[in-house]
C-alpha cells in the first residue's frame, strides 16, 4: 500500500476531532497517579535529608516502629548491594547510602495505615548526620578546593588533571578553527549562564506498589514510560524484570521528568517488608522540587566569527553543566546540537559534566539544547546588531537545510529551518510597529527527535472497529493522533478506533513518551500493524472469493478485487470481514516491533515582542509567535498545543524560574509561590504557524514536535530585551532585579 507523503489524499489526517479521553478529563473521572486506591492499601512517606552533603551516621526508627499503624520502615540496608553504573546511580538516588548527597535526598521511608500516620511516623525516624562541605554551583564545583562529592565517579572520557567532580568530558568538532576565525570580520567571545529549571508538571509523582516476598508484584504509577520504570525499579531492588507488572495511570505532565524512578522502588520495597500489602506513595510539591530532577544549570563560553555580510565562519563553545550528584547532565547533547541551526565548516565543542550537591537531574524537554541555544542565539543576535544585519536574513544565509553538513557530522535530509524562518519573516507579528521601551527578538531552535524501541498491536473487533494498543503514555493527546493514523490506514472513521495505553504485560518493550518520539514511532508502529491487519483481511476476502490474495486491494475500508482480471466481486467491507472472522480463520490482529530510525529533526523559529518597565526592570511579553516544522501535523490543534506549551515553559525559564540555593546548600524556593512558573495573566495569546516539510522516514511524513519549542524562547527573550533596552543579558533568569541593575549600570555609563 502506498504510504508516501501525498498530503492531498489524506482523509482524516490533519483534522481535529475530539480526543477520546476528553470526557473523562473534563468530568474529573480520569484516574491520575494519586487517584488509584485498592483494598488493604498502606500509605508511604519519605524521610529526606535537610543537608546538602552529610554522612549518615545512624538511623533510629524505633520510635516510628512503635507507633500504632506503622507497618514497615526501610533504609538503604533493605536494598541489594553490588550494583554498578547507572543502576547504582538510580539506587543511590532513590535511597541514600553512606551519604546524603543533596537537600531532599531520601534516607528512609515508612508505610502506615493512613497518610497522616505515615507522615507522623516519618517525623519520628531519627537520623544522625555528620555535615560535610557542599557545593551547588557548577563553576565552583570545578575549582581547586571544591569538596569532591564522590571520588572515582569519572568515566574514561575525563582527561587527567581535572577536578574529581568532572565526571564526563566531551570534545567534538570539525574543520580548522584558526582558519575560520581568520576569515571573519567580526569575532565575538561571550560567557553565559542558565539556572536549573524544573519540569513543573502539575501532578506530583505518585505510585501504588505491591510486591510479595517472592519478588513478584504490581506497580501503578504516573510515568512517561512504564518499561523504563519496570527495568529501573527491578534493577534497584535486585528482582527479575518480568516479576513486576507496571500499569501507567493517566499522567499529569512529565516533560522528561517522569522518564525515571523516584518513589516507585520505595513503594515496592515497603510493600515487600510490610508482608505484601500495597503501598501508595504521593509526593508533595516540596518533595517534587527538592528531590526530582530539574534540568541542569550551565555555564558557557561562546566564540563565533562572522563576515561583514553575515556568513558564520567559525564557532567554538565550552559548556559546563551540573546534573546534581550523579553523572548525566545532558552536555552530550549540548556538544552535538549547540550550533545545529547553522552550516559552519569550522566548529568545535568542549563539554564538562560536573557533579554537585543537587538532585539528580532528569530530562527536561529538549534536554541540553535550550541552554546552548541561549548562548549561541544570543551571540548571533549580538553579531547581527553589531554588523547591522537582519537577524532572519542572516539566519537564512547560514541555515541548515537538505544536503548541508550538520555541525555534529552527518548531512541533513529534508528539514524545515528555512521554511520556518521565511514564515516568521512573512508573519504580521514581524512587522508590527513597536513603541517606546519595546523590543523584538528572534531565535531559532532544533531538536533531532527520536525513534526508540517500539512495540504496538492493532486488533480487529467483530463489528469492524479497531483497538490500537501502544506503550507510550498519552500526555498531550497522542491517543487522538494514533486513532487518526489508524483510521487513515484502514480508511474508516476516527470514531471507530479505540486506543489503549497497554501495561508492561501486554506488549514488547517500549521506550517512554520522550524525545518527541510518540507520534512518530508509536504512530509508525500503529500504521505498520494496521497494514498487517489489512493484509490479513485482504487474504480473508481472497479466500472467500477464491482468488489470489495479490489480486485483492484495500480501499476506503473495504477489500476489493484489484481489477477486472481479478474477477467481479462486490467489495467486502471491514465490518463484513470482521463479522465472519471467527469462521474464516480466527482473530485478526497486527503487530509492529522495532526501533525505527527514520525520525528527522524539527527546526523552529520564534519571534517575541516585549516591553520593559524602565523603572522596575519588569518584562511584559506583548506578543509571541512560534513557527515550527511538524513534517505532517496529524492533529493540528495538539501540534499547536505543543508549540504553545514549549514557548510558555521557555518564557518561564528565561524570565523567572530558577533553583535558588542558600549558603547552607538548601533549596530556598521549594513551593510554586517562589518557583515561579508563568500564570495565565503573564502571557499573551501564543500565535502559531505549522510548517510542513514531510519527513520521508514516516509513512505520513510526521516528525516529532514536542521539544524544539522550548529551545528558542530563552534567546528570543534575551534578544528582545536587547532590542528594547540595548542591554545584553547573559545570565538566566532575566529577573527584574537583574534588568534594573543593568539599566542603572547602563545609565551610569
Amino acid at each position: 500500500m502506498a504510504l508516501d507523503n501525498k498530503n492531498n489524499e489524506f482523509k482524516v489526517i490533519g483534522s481535529t476531532p475530539n480526543r477520546p479521553d476528553g470526557l473523562d478529563k473534563v468530568t474529573g473521572r480520569a484516574r491520575f497517579g494519586a487517584d488509584i486506591s485498592v483494598p488493604g492499601m498502606l500509605h508511604g512517606a519519605v524521610v529526606r535529608s535537610p543537608h546538602a552533603h552529610a554522612k549518615i551516621v545512624k538511623i533510629d526508627a524505633s520510635k516510628a516502629l512503635a507507633m500504632k499503624g506503622v507497618k514497615a520502615v526501610i533504609t538503604r540496608a533493605d536494598f541489594p548491594e553490588g550494583l554498578e553504573g547507572e543502576d547504582w546511580n538510580l539506587q543511590e538516588n532513590a535511597m541514600a547510602g553512606e551519604k546524603a548527597l543533596y537537600d531532599g535526598h531520601a534516607v528512609a521511608a515508612v508505610a502506615a495505615t493512613s497518610p497522616l500516620a505515615a507522615r507522623d511516623a516519618a517525623k519520628l525516624i531519627e537520623v544522625e548526620y555528620e555535615v560535610l562541605l557542599h557545593v551547588t554551583d557548577v563553576d565552583e564545583a570545578m575549582k581547586d578546593g571544591a569538596p569532591a562529592i564522590r571520588e572515582g565517579a569519572a568515566d574514561y572520557s575525563v582527561p587527567e588533571g581535572l577536578h574529581p567532580n568532572v565526571v564526563r568530558f566531551f570534545d567534538t568538532g570539525m574543520g580548522d578553527l584558526d582558519k575560520g576565525f581568520a576569515e571573519a570580520d567580526l569575532v565575538v567571545e561571550r560567557s553565559y549562564t542558565t539556572e536549573a529549571a524544573h519540569q513543573g508538571y502539575i501532578e506530583p509523582h505518585a505510585c501504588l506498589g505491591q510486591m510479595g516476598a517472592d519478588g513478584r508484584g504490581e506497580l501503578w504509577c504516573c510515568t512517561q514510560g512504564h518499561w523504563f520504570i519496570r527495568r529501573m525499579s527491578t534493577a534497584v531492588l535486585g528482582v527479575e524484570t518480568t516479576n513486576i507488572r507496571v500499569t501507567p495511570s493517566e499522567i499529569g505532565g512529565g516533560f522528561g521528568g517522569k522518564t525515571t524512578i523516584t518513589i516507585e522502588p520505595l513503594s515496592l520495597a515497603l510493600s515487600r517488608k510490610a508482608g505484601g500489602a500495597p503501598v501508595k506513595m504521593v509526593m508533595n510539591r516540596g518533595e517534587v522540587l527538592r528531590a526530582t530532577g530539574p534540568t541542569s544549570s550551565a555555564s558557557m563560553d561562546i566564540k563565533m566569527g562572522m563576515t561583514k555580510d553575515g556568513k558564520i565562519t567559525a564557532a567554538h563553545g565550552t559548556f559546563r553543566m551540573q546534573g546534581g550528584a550523579f553523572p548525566g547532565a545532558p552536555v552530550d547533547v549540548t556538544t552535538m546540537l549547540a550550533f545545529a541551526n547553522y552550516t559552519i565548516e569550522n566548529v568545535h565543542h568542549i563539554g564538562y559534566d560536573v557533579i554537585t550537591n543537587r538532585p539528580k537531574q532528569a530530562a527536561y524537554r529538549a534536554p541540553g539544547a535550550p541552554m546552548a541555544a541561549f548562548a549561541v542565539e544570543s551571540t548571533v543576535d549580538e553579531m547581527c546588531r553589531t554588523l547591522g544585519l537582519d537577524p532572519i536574513e542572516t539566519r537564512l544565509k547560514n541555515a541548515s537545510r537538505d544536503g548541508t553538513r550538520s555541525t555534529f557530522g552527518p548531512k541533513f535530509g529534508p528539514v524545515g529551518l528555512v521554511e520556518s524562518l521565511e514564515a516568521a519573516r512573512d508573519h504580521a507579528n514581524y512587522k508590527m510597529p513597536l513603541g517606546p521601551n519595546q523590543g523584538r527578538g528572534v531565535a531559532s531552535g532544533y531538536w533531532m527527535n527520536w525513534g526508540g524501541e517500539t512495540s504496538a498491536s492493532v486488533a480487529m473487533s467483530e463489528d469492524g472497529t479497531v483497538t490500537v494498543s501502544v506503550g507510550t503514555p498519552d500526555i498531550g493527546g497522542s491517543r487522538a493522533s494514533m486513532a487518526l493514523m489508524a483510521a487513515e490506514a484502514f480508511g474508516i472513521a476516527y470514531e471507530n478506533v479505540r486506543v489503549n495505553i497497554s501495561d508492561t504485560g501486554a506488549l514488547g518493550v517500549n521506550e517512554p513518551t520522550h524525545g518527541s518520539r510518540a507520534t512518530y514511532a508509536s504512530g509508525l508502529a500503529t500504521i505498520k500493524a494496521a497494514e498487517e491487519c489489512i493484509t490479513k483481511m485482504c487474504k480473508r476476502a481472497a479466500d472467500k472469493w477464491g482468488i489470489d490474495a495479490d489480486a485483492v486491494i484495500w480501499e476506503d475500508g473495504s477489500a476489493k478485487p484489484s481489477g477486472p482480471n481479478a474477477g467481479e466481486f462486490d467489495p467486502l467491507s471491514i465490518g463484513e470481514i470482521c463479522a465472519e472472522m471467527g469462521e474464516t480463520g480466527g482473530p485478526i490482529s497486527g503487530h509492529y516491533e522495532g526501533s525505527p530510525t527514520g525520525f528527522s529533526g524539527s527546526f523552529g523559529t520564534h519571534v517575541v515582542d516585549v516591553e520593559i518597565d524602565p523603572e522596575t526592570g519588569h518584562t511584559t511579553v506583548l506578543r509571541y509567535l512560534v513557527v515550527q516544522d511538524a513534517g505532517k501535523a496529524i492533529h493540528p490543534a495538539y501540534v499547536e498545543g505543543q508549540f504553545q506549551g514549549g514557548a510558555a515553559q521557555g518564557i518561564g525559564w528565561a524570565l523567572n524560574e530558577e533553583y535558588i540555593y542558600g549558603e547552607d546548600g538548601r533549596l530556598q524556593n521549594p513551593v510554586f509561590l517562589d518557583y515561579r512558573i508563568p500564570v495565565a495573566s503573564d502571557l499573551p495569546m501564543i500565535d502559531t504557524v505549522i510548517v510542513e516539510v514531510p519527513n520521508p522516514g514516516h509513512p505520513y511524513g510526521v516528525r516529532g514536535v514536542g521539544e524544539t519549542g522550548i529551545t528558542p524562547p530563552l534567546p528570543a527573550l534575551a534578544n528582545a530585551i536587547a532590542d528594547a533596552t540595548g542591554l545584553r543579558m547573559r545570565g538566566l533568569p532575566m529577573t527584574p532585579p537583574k534588568i534594573l541593575a543593568a539599566l542603572k549600570a547602563q545609565k551610569n555609563g
Binding site: F170, T172, Q199, G257, P367, P410, H514, S595, T597
Partner: protein
C-alpha cells in the same frame, strides 16, 4: 573497508586519527572491528554511542547494514525529554 568519522575527543583512543578504516557489513560488525583495532575505544562503545549511516541516525541497532561507501559518524548516545 568502511570509514568511521570519530568525534574529536576520541582521537586519543585512535592513534590521533579522526577517521578510521574498519571492516564490516553491519553497524555491529564495524563497531566490533573498531574495538578490535583500537582497544582504547572499548569503554566508549560500552558506555553507549549512536551511529549515523548516510545521514540516518541509528540509536541502538547493531543489525543495520553499512556499505563500503557509506558516510558513518559516531555520535553521543542521545536522550530526550
Amino acid at each position: 573497508m568502511v570509514e568511521i568519522n570519530l568525534w574529536s575527543g576520541l582521537r586519543r583512543f585512535a592513534d590521533g586519527k579522526d577517521k578510521v578504516e574498519v571492516s564490516g557489513k553491519t553497524v555491529g560488525e564495524i563497531l566490533d572491528d573498531l574495538v578490535a583495532r583500537y582497544p582504547g575505544m572499548a569503554p566508549v562503545i560500552k558506555a553507549g554511542v549512536s551511529i549515523s549511516v548516510d545521514g540516518e541516525i541509528i540509536p541502538t541497532g547493531r543489525r543495520e547494514p553499512v556499505k563500503e561507501d557509506s558516510e558513518v559518524f559516531l555520535l553521543q548516545r542521545l536522550k530526550g525529554g
